[in-house]
């Protein structure tokens, strides 16, 4: 197993001109199931029409530091069209293994 942080999504690739805006929280207790919207910070934007998965390890490390086993991270992923109009955001979480 290697150190990794990746986001797999469908539909892949994103539609022409669409980028994926990734916001994430700091690592927190695995028992937390809800975080306020203000806790999400921008970490990464994909290229237009990027294919899944998105490797966000470097961006996350730069923002919040190294991953710690047992901690939970929440992500909010928003597709953004070339005009800047946002689609519906999807929220998901993962416990670092």
């Amino acid at each position: 197993m290697a150190i990794a942080l990746s986001l797999a999504y469908t539909t892949t690739p994103l539609a022409a001109g669409v980028k994926l805006l990734v916001e994430a929280t700091p690592q927190m207790s695995a028992g937390i199931s809800f975080v306020a919207r203000s806790k999400y910070k921008y970490i990464f934007a994909s290229a237009a029409a990027a294919a899944s998965p998105a490797n966000v390890l470097a961006a996350y490390n730069a923002k919040y530091g190294a991953l710690v086993a047992g901690k939970k991270i929440f992500f909010r992923l928003t597709p953004v069209g070339s005009t800047g109009i946002r689609g519906l955001a999807q929220v998901t979480s993962v416990v670092v293994s």
Binding site: P53, I85, G87, V96, S97
Partner: protein
């Protein structure tokens, strides 16, 4: 208005400082935001009041850049033509958001102008003066995250 301590038991000063539930009624409806030292908020268990917490201000380079762009956009709005502002107003009526109480609302022209240009700034794309045609990008169908530390 019914007041009830969210931690149970008899209401005391210390309990109030942690948070106090209330049921919106005739006298007081749903609240949001802060007044004085009290903040009204809501979660899945209902509405409640809590002591206001002053936010931290890390003042990072990215935060400063975003704030400067926000200020620039607010100033640039005044320089737009009437036709451009009308275009943004029309676009704003098509963008639906929900507030912290779950109610939906549409944007004003200024809000739409700033929202779009802040997003473009975040993506490293040039700012726009004229409202784009409304085309919402396709939503993601599934998302799966993998995180390993060793």
């Amino acid at each position: 208005m019914e007041l009830r301590c969210i931690h149970g038991g008899i209401q005391r000063e210390t309990a109030y400082n942690k948070g106090m539930k209330y049921l919106p009624g005739l006298m007081v409806g749903e609240l949001s935001g802060s007044a004085g030292n009290t903040t009204a908020s809501r979660n899945r268990n209902g509405a409640f009041l809590r002591t206001r917490v002053m936010p931290v201000n890390p003042n990072t380079a990215l935060q400063s850049a975003v704030r400067a762009n926000l200020q620039g956009n607010a100033q640039n709005w005044k320089a737009l033509t009437d036709a451009q502002r009308a275009g943004w107003t029309a676009l704003g009526l098509l963008i639906v958001r929900s507030d912290s109480l779950g109610r939906t609302y549409t944007l004003t022209g200024l809000q739409a102008y700033i929202s779009i240009n802040q997003t473009l700034f975040q993506l490293g794309v040039a700012q726009v003066s004229s409202a784009p045609a409304y085309t919402s990008p396709a939503n993601l169908l599934t998302v799966a995250v993998t995180a390993t530390s060793v």
